[in-house]
Symmetry: C2
Subunit: 211 residues, 2 copies
DNA sequence: AGGTGTGAAATCGTTCACAGCC
DNA sequence: GGCTGTGAACGATTTCACACCT
């Protein structure tokens, strides 16, 4: 089945909301309630959820517990992924410590940096290796995903090193630069300054855009 | 004029590229070259640039210096904005130190936190106040933009405090939660874990998506 | 009555294809 | 010949509207 990217993004948010509702012992929820809480139209919510089968009850709504399991199943990867984080600077450390990166679906198992002060050390329980050793270490540790928190000039080199032996399947790039990826490699970029620039643009052209 | 969000996002990237080209003394560049370097189609680049007038030369390409000025003018806000950063944790500090946040268009002028250890201190030259004092401080310091690097449960409260006296116009939210914003307030959310989840989803459904 | 599921319509964004200029 | 500017075609995503179930 093919699912559009905006749908996946919303599914992640549905799960987060449902998880909270479930903990709060809410039993039933309607598409309108979900939409209001997350800022989407009810029809959007219903369309997203109906892609994966009829899960709600007409005239009633969705059973929170059941829907949560359903959405989780859709999103959950079939196995756990090993992740490598490249660039142990402030941003890298912040991500290491980020609650979002506590999951049973992925785990940051190794760090990479170029600084002699960092290589050989351990940060938040993860060993740091030299970037030059990436190809071997990635293979050895079965790492298939890279998170890049490196300066912009280093990003492309990291992608190249990660794909050298072909083992890296996905990259989450936090550096302020575009990278060219070989076909098959999935790259997501989160460009912090671009987000702020967009915000400024729409502030200038006041009130044209909201989320 | 109304400009689509994906266009703004690309414009920011054009400017970044043109800036580098200009420093490298490149004089002329074609839409194809720009596209290849950033991963867009040439026709996309031309369409984006043509929204703001005819700036290229047919048969030749774009004058880098001229195009850079042009794109900068489109993106530049009319004046400098004062920004407040809420939540001086690891992520907050990483952003404070982030080169992307060095600009003549905006400046982080104040920090807010709830921790007694942080309130009253100075971080990277910026004073930290208590979140409870936000409404007054924001007004006093003429802050119109908030960056939120707070835990998810605090995000909504920060937006509410920021809009209490109506002075906040834009919010860049890094916390893993959706916030409901009053109309007129522009909210951009950068949800780090959502990005990773999307990546995992497409890794699972292998090779359906890129960038 | 109330709320889901879903084709059809509308909107939004990208790509094509070609006329026009250098 | 090469490259821009742009209407028109296409593709993707959202919203509408209503049949259908409880």
């Amino acid at each position: 089945m093919k699912v559009a990217e905006p749908t996946v993004e919303r599914l992640v948010q549905y799960r987060r909301l449902l998880d909270r509702m479930d903990r709060d012992k809410v039993q039933v929820i309607s598409s309108k309630e979900i939409g209001d809480m997350l800022g989407f139209k009810a029809s959007q919510v219903r369309k997203d959820l109906s892609y994966f089968g009829e899960i709600g009850k007409r005239g009633v709504g969705y059973n929170v517990d059941r829907l949560l399991k359903h959405v989780s199943d859709i999103l959950s990867p079939p196995r756990k992924w090993n992740v490598g984080l490249v660039g142990v600077g402030r941003l890298g450390e912040a991500l290491l410590d980020h609650k979002a990166f506590l999951s049973d679906k992925y785990e940051i198992v190794a760090l990479f940096d170029v600084s002699d002060e960092k290589v050989g050390e351990t940060f938040f329980g993860r060993p740091c290796f030299h970037v030059d050793d990436m190809p071997e270490k990635l293979e050895e540790m079965d790492i298939e995903i890279l998170i890049l928190t490196v300066p912009k000039d280093a990003a492309q080199r990291c992608v190249d090193a990660g794909t050298e032996k072909g083992q890296i399947k996905g990259v989450l790039n936090f550096s302020p630069s575009s990278v060219v990826a070989p076909p098959g490699l999935i790259v997501y970029s989160v460009d912090i300054s671009v987000e702020l620039e967009k915000l400024l643009f729409y502030l200038k052209h006041e009130g044209t855009k909201s989320i």
